[in-house]
Symmetry: C2
Subunit: 232 residues, 2 copies
DNA sequence: CGACACCTTGAAGAGGTTCAAGAAATGTGG
DNA sequence: CCACATTTCTTGAACCTCTTCAAGGTGTCG
């Protein structure tokens, strides 16, 4: 039932590499339990006490922040092997919602345990730092996207990013099934759902993409790449 | 010449609180040297090998990322007591530029030393995690700003944020001297310098702000606050 | 004092939003 | 398994915000 990290096929995504057998044994104690999250429900919500980081074992999530006045911003989409909950460290409370976009399962890694172990295993310490830093760099990229790109470029960048991450997990490098709505994509990319839909249609007209609802087939990946590498 | 961290008046901004005298002694070894950075020059640049984190002792910085096609996004403005360089941890190379906007001085904290010490001092370990997490949460806020706010709201949010951070450092809560150009503000906020200028003028017309070049006086801070708390 | 960078303002234009209506897919309950 | 309700997606047309282009003003530094 519970698969040890040391035997998990996602280990290279979540855990440091190059550990000694001794260290590998200890690492197995990081994950205390698994938790299933139904599509549409929350792994954690803004304000929840922070206790653990979560590695996605299977499924797909969005994270989002909201404001009192009802504004809503999707801050990212997360897939297998990625870590959620980093936002909670600073204040001991989560500052965003993590919502499953399909039935999912996560590995619960109590923060206290991670902290203790990374004082013993410097490779783990380094790994935790890297995960945090990687998220900062990822968000820099989103800021570039939101701050300086136009609608077509944003969507192209988002699709390329998704397909590349899926490809790294053994899925097709040209075909994907979106787990999110046009509205969620729009929220992430700072545009309205109608604009997302129109841009999909334009890509289809241009022969870059085949769009059937949430099934996408990328016909011309170079064209997508060119879109984001060219100044308007 | 070199002021020990334990005696630095910015200690509460950079360093963990509640350390034992013994731990305080060790903390002093984190900062190996100070480095002056002239206005306009870089503390580090994209591609530079990552070796240290930097705490701002005095001055003001911007961080920015660029792309091959000449796009440019300011990812943040940093002031005394704030930490830079976190982006470099993940890949051992910096992924943004840190540029001084006025003559500045930073405390160099070699990453190796921080890592070693935070294995010994769990308060330091926790502190490093918090700093990284805080940056992630800050960037979530910027994503909300860029993804869902309009020009006036963005500028209002930016000004409130700046003045609040300055206030926390003992400066006025209503008056400030900008260290950056309209273009840099615009890059940060995802708008053109003309729009920044126009929005300043509008705020002045509305009696919210006095604007004389880079000297700003906030006349109605509640009005600014209301601007960002109201849906369009 | 002159050169340069920075800022302001106007007018025209483009890109994206809003509002609206209908189509397609998905889920629900009988 | 089908009928119906609901959610999601697409598309059109009018509108609005911000950008672009342009010109002139202001401040700063050698």
């Amino acid at each position: 039932m519970k698969v040890a990290c040391s035997k998990c096929n996602l280990r290279e995504l979540c855990m440091p590499v190059g550990l000694s057998p001794d260290e590998l044994d200890k690492i197995d104690e990081v994950v205390t339990l698994r938790r299933k999250v139904k599509r549409g429900s929350a792994l954690f919500r803004t304000g929840d006490p922070f206790q653990a980081l979560y590695a996605i074992r299977s499924g797909f999530f969005k994270t989002r922040i909201g404001t009192e006045d009802g504004r809503d911003q999707v801050t990212g989409f997360q897939m297998a092997g990625e870590i959620m909950g980093l936002d909670g460290i600073v204040s001991d409370h989560h500052s965003c919602d993590a919502i499953a976009l399909e039935d999912s399962e996560v590995c619960v890694m109590p923060y206290e345990r991670i902290s203790e172990l990374s004082r013993e295993i410097s490779a783990l310490q380094r790994h935790v730092h890297r995960i945090l830093s990687r998220e900062i760099v990822r968000e820099h990229g989103v800021m570039l996207l939101l701050g300086s790109m136009r609608a077509e470029e944003r969507l192209a960048a988002c699709l390329l990013n998704l397909v590349q991450r899926l490809h790294a997990r053994g899925f097709s490098g040209s075909e994907l099934r979106l787990r999110m709505t046009r509205e969620e994509i729009g929220s992430y990319l700072g545009m309205k759902l109608e604009t997302v839909s129109r841009t999909f249609s334009k890509f289809a007209d241009d022969g870059i993409l085949q769009v059937h609802q949430r099934h996408l087939r990328i016909l011309d990946i170079d064209a997508l790449q060119r879109l984001i590498n060219q100044q308007p």
